[in-house]
């Protein structure tokens, strides 16, 4: 085999391997085994297995469920599957000062453990932003992130 033909053979094999790997990851079941977070209903469906290990729970902060502690050092709220009021939800108790975008109805991912009383204790709270970018409406002021960051620093 000439070096040129050998290289073309290698190219064909490498492309096959690459395409195979890509197809396996894209269409295989890897997404079912490797999950970044569970939604409340997925976590509750696990039953007893969800108690104990550190897991991530993701969903939306149920409107009307946010309760701050007196010093604002911790926060309790319900994370729900969706904005619908009847969707499954879990109580989350978070000891971290939330990022400034935290508010009712926004998407969050919390990392922590579910205890037997069905309370999810978390020390890591992340807020996710959608892919929508809009200027503030007429007369509204944009969010002041500097103010809330220094406020959060003072609380610590």
């Amino acid at each position: 085999m000439t070096p040129g033909a050998r290289n073309r053979f290698i190219l064909a094999v490498a492309l096959l391997v690459a395409a195979g790997a890509l197809a396996f990851i894209a269409f295989g079941d890897i997404g079912k085994n490797l999950v970044y977070y569970w939604s409340p209903s997925e976590m509750l469906a696990q039953g007893e297995r969800a108690f104990g290990p550190t897991i991530r729970l993701g969903g939306v902060v149920q409107p009307g469920s946010v309760e701050w502690s007196a010093q604002k050092t911790s926060v309790k709220f319900r994370v729900a599957d969706s904005h619908k009021s009847e969707s499954a939800s879990v109580v989350v108790h978070c000891e971290q000062t939330p990022p400034q975008m935290f508010r009712e109805g926004i998407g969050v991912v919390v990392e922590g453990t579910l205890d037997k009383s069905q309370v999810f204790k978390s020390k890591r709270l992340m807020v996710n932003h959608s892919n929508e970018y809009r200027p503030p409406k007429e007369g509204e002021k944009p969010a002041d992130w500097k103010g809330s960051v220094s406020e959060a620093a003072e609380q610590k």
Binding site: P3, G4, N7, R8, I10, L11, A14, L15, V17, A18, A21, L22, I25, A26, G31, L34, V35, Y36, Y37, G58, Q96, P98, P99, Q100, M101, F102, V109, R124, L125, M126, V127, N128, H129, S130, N131, E132, Y133, R134, P135, P136, K137, E140, P142, A143, D144, W145, V149
Partner: protein
Amino acid sequence: MLYVTIALFALAVGLFALHLFWAKARGWVWKAVAVLGGAMLPAGAYFGLSWAPSEQDMGEVYRIIFVHVPMVWAALLALVVNFVASAAYLFKRSWTSDSLGEAGAEVGVVFGVVGLLLGSIWGRPTWGVWWDWDPRLTTTAIMLVLYTGYLALRKFVDDPEKRATWSAVVGVIAAVDLPIVWFSVRWWKSIHQVQSNPKTIDRSMFVVLVFNVVAFMCALFVYLWHRFLIAKAARAREVALPSALPPAGPQEAA
């Protein structure tokens, strides 16, 4: 602003095409691109920092999108160049495609690292964390490790021909991760938002984003082209080494 951006976009694409398809123009096209990019980068920074409106949820902090997105796109594009060059080398051996592969990988890693750091800076005030092992972030980290490995492999192999063949194989296989990085936010749940489109970004912000993308593509082009010329010169020296001594005898005088 919209029409100016479209015109500049067309101008940049025209210059890239001229460079690709007209070999005689390669001496000067990159200079024109450098002038265009050199003027657009500071202008883009001004438009991004002050002309574009603030964002309703994120305030001013969202403005980092105008560098984060172009930077990562440039990185992905450079790595696609590496894939094409790697496949081209295996299809038909040439020092040109080998050099282009080297340039694409190195420039891609540099842009990718900066893009990742910018994303991290954006993540802290919005998500609340610098880093998390979400699918998009993890696959991007894997991408940078893969191509750093590619560059390390090239350093370790002394024989130019073996180096070219082996690294081309790595280039083809590593490219698997590129579509995974792109689609990770669609295939799996993640904290990183999915790609925006003109409908999800306000017009005034979208125009500034496109303006900056054009500026970064110009920078990428100049950077890639020069890295390619350096690689090509290094190759020419290596390959010619054993026979580079001037031939003895009377031919030299002629």
